[in-house]
């Protein structure tokens, strides 16, 4: 086995060589942060979630089984951390989350957003910010897994067809937000 393969590093970690997690961290910090950022839209929260993920990696390192992919295990931990965060913030709705990244049911636009509406990509991102967190997370997973729908479906205990329909509906919702934002900006 490659000494610096993910699995080998996990072996070392399980044998008490904690510094092996440094290489895992360097290898996955960016992709994890990107996944969290695409799911939350909040830089600081994404950093916190990377930290939480690796704290759990160290804490639960003995739970990893060699038969599975380290990346998948890492992202499962990351996903749990994200879900925990959502649960916490839903119990404390006015917690420290940046209000601009929380889903917004209303279609009112602030001055800055009004200016962004002219740019289609910016409009799409504004609409993304209005999606429910779990919907944003699904889109982030699809991007992360490079559109391998079968693999993403497995993560959600679903099948490929059902997942695609779900994504279709999310896209429809996004379009609805975009249309309403565009309409409101014209008044």
């Amino acid at each position: 086995m490659n000494q610096f393969s993910d699995k080998s590093l996990m072996n070392r970690l399980q044998n008490g060589q904690l510094d092996a997690s440094g290489l895992l961290y360097e290898r996955y910090k960016k992709v994890l942060w990107t996944y969290f950022f695409n799911s939350t839209g909040d830089r600081n929260q994404s950093e916190d979630l990377v930290q939480t993920t690796f704290e759990k990696v160290l804490k639960y390192r003995h739970n990893y089984r060699e038969s599975g992919s380290v990346k998948a295990w890492l992202f499962a931990i990351g996903r749990n951390a994200l879900t925990d965060e959502w649960q916490k913030s839903s119990k404390q709705p006015q917690a420290s989350l940046d209000p601009s990244v929380r889903p917004r049911a209303d279609q009112s636009l602030n001055a800055e957003e009004q200016m962004m509406v002219g740019d289609r990509m910016a409009l799409l991102q504004l609409a993304m910010a209005r999606l429910a967190p779990e919907k944003r997370e699904l889109l982030a997973q699809i991007k992360l897994q490079e559109k391998k729908y079968k693999e993403v479906a497995a993560l959600y205990n679903s099948n490929e067809a059902a997942l695609k329909v779900r994504v279709f509906r999310i896209m429809q919702e996004l379009r609805g937000y975009m249309d309403r934002m565009q309409a409101s900006s014209q008044y």
Binding site: N2, W33, V50, L124, Q172
Partner: protein, 246 residues
Amino acid sequence: MKEQYQALLADFAAGTLDESEQECLESLIVEGEIELADLPDFSALMDKGMNHQEQAEETHNMDERFYAMLETEMEQVEKTKVRAFSWPLQLVAAIALILFSFWGGLEYASSGDGPSRTLGSNQQVVELLAANDIDEKIHLVSKVRAAGQADEKMIDALLFMLVNEESNNIRIACVNVLTDYSHLPQARLGLVNAISYQRSTVVLVSIAEALEASGKKMSLEEFSQHLNPQIPAAKKESLKRILAQL
């Protein structure tokens, strides 16, 4: 995609799908007749709308926090083991630190150009070398990286730490900064010289990656010649296999 579906997609784009059209579109997606990529804005969202890894802007603060957390965890693990206290080595390191600081002071006194910049740099170097705490050292090294401008003295200090620091995480943090300067002969030569002082394969791989980033990758044989002779043969062979894949 068949042309007859274009009308459906156009209605989707216009937001005018009725219930039966929506059902129809959903079943076409399930059957694979229409790909999600065919939906207006889907590809744009996936390719440009969401943050790319290359654009990820996580801060150095995240690294600091991780390595600080790791050090704490390692200390806890260490506490469970009987640790040999090697005071003569610490004494040697302390003397080396004093001598290095003294040399830094002499260098500063003899240099005439850019006093304020040199003073700032010297202060940073002394601060870095005098720090006692591992967390503090990692924090200071990260600050050097964030500042983005290490001068010759700072590079020397980082190379000194790369050779003398006990903590592999501090060594790795130093290599991370030095990677940004590996195109400079001083940094590259220092990195090569530091190879023989390393026992940790993680640090060695980091150095190999830094040398690769310099654009003048060392051959495996060349790299291996610098390895510490005390590294067990099996470990050395294993390391060579890893380096061969870099």
